[in-house]
Subunit: 372 residues, 2 copies
């Protein structure tokens, strides 16, 4: 069992074993019976079928409540520290799927305060600017305007602060140290921050004046925040938030988390032009052999191939087509160059449309935002 | 030298040696040359003449700037955890004196968030309610409405939060541990709080769009907050705040700090009725002898007498009259009962008028408050 890795919202190191992570975090696998249940509400998203969203907390309970007529609210977020790449978009496309299937409200938090406090090179003006920039990508994904509220922490703080300090009163520094691996050198804003990330779990309840379940789709690295939230929720008079956890999308350089620290040339940003996208895809790490001859003979290895992972996580929703691609790779029936070209064409088709929608989002972005 | 005492905003223990405290905190004494300088602006307040306000940071600089036409702003505050007693009022009457003499703006912070986070028995609704209650006492002291802004942290947080997190980013937990004596069991709201207490030092500068000096009259127990502020101020683009520090008003039980934890029967609240005030004063700890006979012969000891301290700190501004009272006590010319009656009459005269003004304050309290 591989235990030599660390996953927190503030850093992922080592090679993540997602099975071990379920045990370590104490979450549950999204298993076959649960998938079967979800499929009753709508077609199963490929990220569910393929165990990209693979872990959860209390998802059954959320569905039980939904079945009783107690609709949940969705909550997800973004730390606006720079441009959006495909790894960021993955859980959001899944969040949109949940909104489409269940027709529920979504609270989308932009943590401009967090990114400012955690990054030396960013001013609060920078993170706020990125918040509005990033919102264009969020809106471009097609969230229902009537059901979606986007907010920057600094612009919604008057609403959030009283609830944040009620949470903060129940969380001590020992907990923060244990959960996030912080120490005495951490700044006191970063120590306090998890209280702010806790609040949106309860915003729908506050607004409705009754207890409303909250479901958080997120990368599993964000789970530690909500473990803390779940510990304090009932004491604050709310339900514990439920979660569905995604694996972290690999970068084009191989099996590591795509994050802001990932090198720009192995990360596809939503605003990259065609030439740049092509270059990045064509330079991607694959499971190919040292020569075409050898690959024709022995076949490639899709298990370690970032190009195949991109198809599986994001760009090939059709299981039969994905299986054929996988088989062709293993049999030596397709070479990496061709495979990259296929992925590039899909990525660019997606991005060309996304960029068009992103431009259009500028007309409505203000209407998505809520402020105190 | 007595070093066996601790003074922080969150607790005072041991018998405070105020001379040692100046060395320990690294502040300056308000000495004769400085008093002489202050007297040029207006008559010296008895709290200055008697070294009740006895220590400072950068007060000369504030006056230098004032002389150049760069007026300072005043900032003081109150943690609204319960009713107001005379010990609370002492620095505020001095703050009003400074406002009257220098005709400057005053920012009066009510830290409803702080008191909620530090006291288990208080809800945020409680501290907010106390904030508005306490504001009546503040207003009753006669602050100039045109120059005075009162605010609750939770009602002004949208303005304060961006500046608070800019400060928080520069303060780590090691500093908090060292300055306040906190440990890992402190809640993360209490750890973050000093960032919020820092902000009002800069509100006048923010409002004016230029650097404005800030002068903070406060009990010396509050100095640790502003040592931190002074360390981060210039990095945030502001002047370091200047301070004038008061000794802590003794309770009627003797030489301890009057605080919310002080027993109610040795503390005179502003809303006490005549009978209650009389009972409290008549039961006060004095420097009297075991019998009237002995006191006539040996005299009393005003140095340890809380009744005399009340006259000196608050109720007898006339130095000659105070000196006579002191001499009469030492010579055995006045007995404790008579002395208590004199004090009671002054206290009640003050409170009767204060209570009348406190009622009238209800008509204007909303106008003193600023909100986001």
């Amino acid at each position: 069992m591989n235990n030599e890795f660390v996953v927190t919202p503030y850093g992922v190191s080592g090679e993540v074993d997602y099975d071990v992570l379920i045990q370590r975090f104490g979450t549950k696998r999204i298993d076959e019976p649960l998938l079967k249940r979800i499929s009753k509400y709508g077609p199963l998203h490929h990220m569910l079928r393929r165990q990209v969203f693979y872990s959860h907390r209390d998802l059954e309970w959320v569905l039980d409540e939904y079945d009783k007529g107690n609709r949940f609210a969705l909550y997800t977020g973004r730390g606006p520290s720079g441009p959006i790449h495909l790894g960021h978009m993955m859980p959001w496309t899944f969040t949109k799927y949940l909104q489409d299937v269940f027709k529920v409200n979504l609270w989308f938090q932009l943590t401009d305060d967090e990114k400012f406090m955690f990054y030396d090179h960013l001013t609060l003006e920078d993170t706020k600017k990125w918040g509005y920039e990033n919102a264009l990508d969020i809106i471009a994904l097609g969230f229902d305007q009537k059901l979606t509220k986007i907010f920057l922490d600094t612009e919604y703080i008057k609403t959030m602060y009283p609830l944040a300090i009620r949470a903060a009163k129940k969380i001590n520094f020992s907990t923060i140290k244990a959960v996030f691996g912080f120490d005495n050198s951490n700044n006191i804003g970063s120590i306090f921050f998890t209280s702010i990330q806790t609040v949106p779990c309860f915003l729908e309840s506050m607004e409705k004046g009754r207890k409303v379940p909250c479901l958080i789709p997120c990368g599993i690295d964000q789970d530690p925040h909500f473990r803390i939230t779940r510990d304090v929720a009932e004491g604050l008079g709310y339900y514990k938030p439920a979660l569905v956890h995604a694996k972290l999308m690999p970068s084009l350089a191989g099996a590591e988390k795509m994050s802001t620290s990932t090198k720009a040339d192995t990360t596809i940003f939503t605003t990259d032009d065609k030439k740049t996208v092509k270059k990045k895809v064509m330079n991607a790490f694959t499971g190919g052999r040292v020569s075409v001859e050898e690959q024709r003979k022995l076949g490639g290895n899709p298990d370690i191939c970032s190009v195949f992972q991109y198809q599986a996580y994001f760009f090939e929703p059709d299981d039969a087509k994905l299986a054929k691609l996988q088989a062709d790779c293993r049999s030596g029936g397709i070479m990496c160059g061709e495979c990259k070209t296929i992925l590039f064409e899909k990525v660019w088709k997606f991005l060309e449309e996304h960029q068009r929608r992103r431009e259009k989002a500028k007309d409505v972005v203000q209407e998505f935002f809520i402020r105190d």
